[in-house]
Symmetry: C2
Subunit: 200 residues, 2 copies
């Protein structure tokens, strides 16, 4: 039933998604135009619409691709592992994502800033559930005295906010730190922060 994809199809779809990630992550959905994307992709506008039925469809494909990998690091937090080390590892995974996929991070930030019109269901569904589970795990760790008392929600927000800050506010970070690579030192800092906060 489903036709296999041509080499050209595969290549051009990848080109389009890459180019549109550049544009959407900077200007958001409404602020981006197909002309911008087509120029970034080096394809005619009509050609874009041969591979994707609409602007919405490109954006949706991008978000779907993003969400797959975005929530993953949290899933890999092991409730049976050493609490401090598990949380540290999670923070490092998130920081690594910000370093490797800053555009994806900004795409997500843009979507949230605009009120998450396309992913509200994910926020209130999958993400909420996963966060609730993590909340329970952390609560138990606190009760067991494995980490110092801390509000689990705010702890999670701390990790999210800090790690994503280096991607989302990269321009500001660069303006202040100059040529230094923020990610170089951020890993150590994050480790220090969390150890001091959590180690009993």
């Amino acid at each position: 039933m489903k036709k296999p994809k041509t080499r050209i199809q595969l290549r051009n779809e990848a080109i389009i998604l890459g180019a549109s990630l550049d544009v959407f992550s900077q200007f958001g959905f409404r602020g981006s135009t197909l002309d911008q994307i087509s120029e970034a992709a080096g394809l005619s506008k009509a050609n874009l619409l041969y591979y994707f039925p609409s602007k919405e469809a490109i954006h949706a494909a991008l978000l779907a691709q993003l969400l797959e990998t975005w929530i993953d690091p949290l899933k890999r937090l092991d409730p049976t592992g050493d609490p401090v080390e598990e949380l540290l590892a999670y923070a490092h995974r998130k920081l690594d994502m910000s370093k490797r996929f800053p555009r994806e991070s900004r795409l997500f930030a843009n979507e949230i800033l605009q009120g998450a019109p396309h992913i509200n269901n994910v926020l209130q569904g999958e993400l909420r559930d996963l966060t609730d589970q993590t909340h329970q795990v952390i609560t138990k760790w606190v009760e067991a005295g494995a980490i110092r008392p801390v509000d689990p929600y705010h702890l999670i927000f701390t990790i999210w906010a800090l790690t994503q800050h280096y991607a989302d506010f990269a321009v500001q970070v660069r303006a202040i730190m100059g040529d230094q690579d923020p990610f170089e030192s951020a890993g150590d800092y994050l480790e220090t922060l969390l150890r001091r906060l959590l180690t009993p």
Copy 2:
């Protein structure tokens, strides 16, 4: 030379700035339209352009107004005060700003996400200078043993990222915390975090 402003002028300019803050903070400059703003303001589009010469001008007025108050909390950090208490007070001021001016926070976030095209000079000028001064102050505090060793830049980013997160990612925070008011508990959490991180 400069004509005094009418009551009507004052009122309508305020209305326009308020409405455009709603719109710009959600969709960014490019994603916002004068039609949206005029509807939000309850004024005709032509009337908007009687008070402001262009869309750019409205946005510029908004940013100028924002920057005045945005950097202020950092200026009030007292190098001669008690280090931990000073940093704590700064963090609380910032959190308070996020609570009271979430739209302004999102306007700023949008501007940074888009590469700060309108305020790059401020970032690399005033903000950079101010941050450098603060960096020196914190460094001296560390050297004096008044606070535990910590990278000053990342410490500042921590305060920025965390406090602004509650405004910029409000939709996500709400999706996860439900009806709880995040700001209720965020103050205490922030205090705990910074004390554990900084207190020698």
